[in-house]
């Protein structure tokens, strides 16, 4: 097709990065990896013809599904004809009716039967039980994969119950594998379901730094036995090794893994680094990685602040001043009062009418820099109480960026108690911690100080409860959570 060499290499790298099987095949070799453990458990229940259930737990992006897929692929090769796999996803089939239908559908496809769309819940569940028995008699194992397992535990858990109950009989031969990013997924189960569940759990951790290093080399080094010209491959690989040995590169990687060291984040980082390759030369540079770090770690609120106009900043400064004065709640009218006061005392160059300010105020709401604090039924905007969604530090950064010096002087603030380092992606920390349910935040506002080893301090609202959270890096130690309520 007339592609250049660089393009060919880029295509190869992108294909690799978008293929989780390739990425996780690296870790399948070692004996104490989750891959080997999982494979052992599943294959033993296939060979011994018994029922089993496992939960794969761990934060998002640690490769639970990818490892599971690898295991299944291998097992299907090994025991072809003895295994049939039914895949469900909590996001798609959280409704019991829909889930059982999907099971019936997939069983029908697997065994080349006619699937009736009209079948009821009872019909389908009876069909499933019958199929399980038949499969058991034929010494065929049915593997049920329930992705987003926590979502199946909502409601009456009829699906889980009927599935696990069917597995109690000797005749059946099935394995249920639940995958969830909630570490407390098994606590969500009802008693009757929990008692039928074997409490086998496999934990997935974010990888240590050495693994990331290996992964980097595994994915980015070009293979010598490909169609690409040999000279190019050796040059590419030697340049890349130079970069990896570079101290500055290690800093970049440290920055990345400080906020989020999961596989998925790392792969995303590599993907954007790879896509920045200059196609003319076709070699990676350190700048590729640096700019990739910038695209991956964004501070959305600060980005948003940078685009605000003077008047919008003015309103936020007024709100900040009201907050410093410890006004518990304030609305647009009190902001306008403050605005007039600032105008009088500081002799600001521009003064705008309330209707224009109201429009700017609405822009801020639209940008989600401020938020209404009440439900506000039938109340006009001027009277609804509002709150700022950014910290004073962010506001100061925004003012500094836009060089609104005279506005900054109006922001007579006590220095903020908490600084969070600008390189940290706050959003990531928050999501991460929340996805494993370490912080239950009621409020959108947070300030954090992550350091390496990452220690988050989450401050939910200035007046609300105050969570200090330390993160020990190991999940077994289950993270000490200190909650001081103010």
């Amino acid at each position: 097709m007339g592609r250049s060499i660089g393009e060919e290499a880029l295509l190869l790298l992108r294909r690799r990065l978008c293929d989780p099987n390739f990425i996780f095949s690296l870790f399948s070799a070692s004996p104490d990896s989750n891959y080997s453990k999982l494979k052992f458990i599943v294959s033993s229940s296939v060979t011994e013809a018994c029922n089993n259930s496992i939960l794969l737990l761990g934060p998002r992006g640690c490769g639970k599904i990818a490892v599971l897929d690898l295991v299944l692929e291998d097992l299907l090769k090994e025991y072809s004809g003895l295994i049939s796999v039914i895949k469900l996803n909590g996001l798609l089939h959280c409704d019991d009716n829909c889930a059982i239908k999907e099971i019936a559908r997939q069983l029908c496809i697997e065994h080349e039967l006619m699937f009736s769309k009209m079948a009821s819940f009872d019909d389908n569940s009876q069909f499933m039980i019958a199929m399980l028995r038949e499969c058991g008699l034929a010494h065929k194992t049915v593997i049920f994969i329930l992705d987003e397992f926590d979502l199946f535990a909502q409601g009456k858990q009829r699906l889980l119950y009927s599935l696990l109950d069917a597995m109690q009989s000797v005749a059946s031969q099935a394995v249920v594998i639940g995958v969830s990013c909630r570490l407390d997924a098994d606590q969500l189960l009802e008693k009757r379901v929990r008692s039928r569940f074997s409490h086998r759990k496999l934990l997935f951790h974010p990888p240590p730094k050495e693994d990331l290093q290996r992964l980097l080399k595994h994915t980015l080094l070009l293979p010598t036995d490909s169609d690409l010209p040999h000279d190019y491959v050796t040059e590419f690989n030697s340049k890349l090794s130079n970069i990896i040995a570079d101290k500055r590169f290690m800093e970049v990687i440290d920055k990345l893994s400080d906020s989020d060291s999961t596989f998925s984040n790392f792969v995303r980082f590599l993907f954007s680094a790879v896509s920045f390759i200059d196609l003319k030369s076709g070699f990676m540079t350190l700048d590729n990685f640096k700019s990739a770090l910038l695209t991956i770690q964004r501070q959305p609120k600060l980005d948003c602040l940078k685009g605000c106009s003077v008047l919008e900043f003015f309103i936020m400064v007024c709100m900040r001043r009201l907050e410093v004065k410890e006004k518990e709640s304030y609305n647009f009218n009190s902001i306008m009062k403050e605005y007039n006061r600032i105008y009088d005392s500081f002799k600001m160059p521009d003064f705008y009418s309330p209707s224009v300010c109201l429009r700017a105020f609405e822009h801020l709401v639209e940008r989600e820099l401020i938020e209404f604090a009440d439900r506000g039924q039938n109340q006009s905007i001027e009277f609804r109480s509002v709150k700022l969604l950014i910290s004073s530090y962010e506001l100061q950064q925004g003012l500094k960026f836009n060089r609104f010096v005279n506005l900054k002087t109006t922001l007579h603030l006590t220095p903020p108690v908490l600084h969070f380092s600008p390189e940290v992606d706050l959003h990531r920390c928050r999501q991460h911690s929340n996805s494993s349910h370490f912080i239950c935040s009621s409020n959108k506002r947070f300030e954090a100080i992550p350091r390496s080893p990452p220690i988050f301090k989450g401050l939910c609202g200035s007046y609300a409860s105050f969570l200090v959270l330390s993160y020990s890096g190991k999940y077994e130690e289950s993270l000490c959570l200190i909650v001081c309520s103010l």
């Binding site: 295509l11 998002r60 980005d303 609305n331 521009d350 224009v356 039924q377 039938n378 929340n434």
Partner: protein, 528 residues
């Protein structure tokens, strides 16, 4: 009936592209029997693809974003992880993405969550486009597939995508051998573009819909599909309970002043004159708002004003003309900023033209028509909201307990503090609520006290026998005022159980209404 085709045609219209190609719409409305859709309809469908330089010049101020996006999309047929394009309103996200696809000439499916207002609409829209299905009279304007649940959507989408990708691959082989087709489709990847994603947060099942969309790429496991999300708000606004794997973010910052100038200068017949105008106007307006759409609507009448002294619009301004124009124009700038966002009706626009831009308060008359009784109702609702209910007797009943109220005690320090606190509270709480009975009572007092010849329904009310049938007219007026949002209906009071109302009229408007009736409202207004 041509309206039905328009979603097919306008799906790729943005403000920008519709401005560029007005004849595309004409074509669509003229042809009734459209030919069946082919794979080529999945690309932008222009005669020739945009070159990279044209792309850059057609979107001023977006060079880095275009570069980044093209890099992330990669060369033809390269897999891509999901992208998340975000930035404020009117920063050119949608137009940039669509123009990039016009440049790349790759197949894509664009669907906006604004037009597809629920999950079913969204799913069916995507499937229709992929299955090359067009709603028409023949099929009773139905979709290709009925699909409401996410589970069904995934199955159908997988089938549709594999079908499209396969035929694209087949097509590719053919077109490279024959090379005579007019528009060739580049590559066999299909990109799904989801616009205005932030609206999904308000949908019914947003808690599963959003993680589902973000995970769609993993769920589908089709390598030949790229997902692009376009959103107003940043990723942290899509914060969900158990999180999701983030797509790669691409930020569109707000336009800088230079970029705005470049955009505003486009399609101006006399660019020199317009640039002189922008020199004067852009900076003060830029301090208020950076939104392109608001700026362009605010600036277009101002430019007319600016050109008024000129006889010939083609003139190239020299220093003298500039100075002259500046003299004439300068007084209009400052008031115009404060008028900037006022939405004026057509009639009042004409009024404004006749009037001088004196001050912001130059319009003293009401800008709309209202019957006298409705005006009285507005005033009484306003009074009922502002005045405390306990003082009604003082204002409206001549014999009521006004005697002890009129004596004003000297306020002590403490009472003044209390008063201040109460004032503060009122400031925060806004107008108070009132039951319907109180509104009607005040209304009756006002109209009976007024010495004007009022309409018959009010006469009916003041008549002693109290004809209730005429009261219904007033109730009707109240409900129409409610629907016009002069009065808002609140929740019912937990003790009384009756519905409470609240006046949403600002003080200025109430004063204006009173003025038009020559009603001395200030006599009745309680001042703390």
């Amino acid at each position: 009936m041509n309206k039905v085709e328009s979603p097919q045609v306008t799906k790729r219209k943005t403000r920008l592209s519709s401005a560029c190609t007005p004849n595309a719409v004409e074509n669509a409305t003229r042809t009734i029997n459209l030919p069946p859709l082919t794979l080529r309809d999945l690309v932008f469908g222009e005669e020739e693809a945009l070159t990279y330089d044209d792309l850059i010049s057609s979107l001023p101020g977006r060079r880095t974003q275009i570069f980044e996006l093209i890099r992330l999309l990669g060369p033809v047929n390269s897999p891509v992880s999901p992208l998340f394009v975000y930035g404020g309103a009117s920063t050119g996200k949608t137009s940039t993405i669509l123009q990039i696809f016009r440049h790349l000439n790759r197949p894509f499916v664009y669907s906006s969550c604004r037009t597809c207002y629920n999950a079913r609409q969204l799913f069916e829209n995507i499937l229709n486009q992929l299955l090359l299905h067009r709603k028409s009279e023949i099929n009773g304007y139905s979709s290709a597939k009925k699909c409401e649940k996410q589970a069904d959507f995934v199955n159908l989408l997988k089938d549709a995508l594999t079908g499209v990708v396969e035929s694209l691959k087949g097509n590719l082989g053919k077109s490279s051998s024959s090379k005579n087709s007019g528009i060739s489709v580049n590559g066999s990847m299909v990109y799904l573009i989801f616009d205005s994603l932030e609206l999904i947060r308000d949908w019914d099942k947003s808690s599963t819909m959003l993680p589902f969309l973000f995970k769609l790429h993993d769920i589908l496991k089709v390598p030949d599909v790229g997902l692009i999300f376009i959103s107003n708000s940043s990723l942290d606004a899509y914060y969900s309970d158990t999180g999701f794997v983030d797509p790669i973010p691409v930020h569109f910052p707000d336009y800088t002043e230079d970029a705005l100038r470049q955009i505003l200068m486009r399609n101006q017949p006399n660019s020199k004159l317009y640039s002189c105008f922008l020199d004067l106007v852009l900076n003060p307006f830029y301090r208020v708002t950076r939104k392109l759409d608001e700026l362009s609507t605010a600036l277009s009448p101002l430019f007319k004003k600016y050109c008024e002294p000129l006889d010939d619009l083609e003139v190239v301004p020299n220093e003298e003309i500039k100075r002259k124009l500046l003299c004439c124009f300068k007084p209009y700038i400052a008031p115009a900023i404060n008028e900037i966002f006022r939405v004026t009706s057509l009639a009042s626009n004409e009024n404004l033209k006749r009037k001088k831009y004196g001050g912001s308060d130059s319009i003293d008359g009401l800008e709309f028509h209202m019957s006298t009784s409705a005006k009285y109702l507005v005033i009484s609702a306003f009074l009922a909201s502002r005045n405390p209910a306990t003082l009604d007797a003082t204002w409206f009943d001549s014999t009521g307990g006004s005697s002890n109220q009129k004596k004003k005690r000297k306020s002590s320090e403490k009472s003044r503090d209390l008063k201040e606190a109460a004032e503060q509270e009122a400031f925060l709480k806004g107008p108070g609520t009132f039951p319907l009975e109180r509104l009607l009572a005040i209304f009756q007092c006002l109209t009976s006290g007024a010495e004007y010849s009022v309409e018959e329904e009010i006469e009916g009310e003041t008549s002693l026998d109290g004809d209730n049938s005429l009261m219904s007219d007033i109730l009707l007026q109240v409900s129409s005022l409610c629907s016009a949002n002069f009065i808002s209906k609140g929740g019912s009071c937990p003790l009384e159980g009756s519905i409470r109302y609240r006046s949403t009229v600002s003080e200025d408007l109430a004063l204006k209404v009173a003025k038009s009736l020559k009603f001395p409202i200030s006599n009745y207004l309680y001042r703390r």
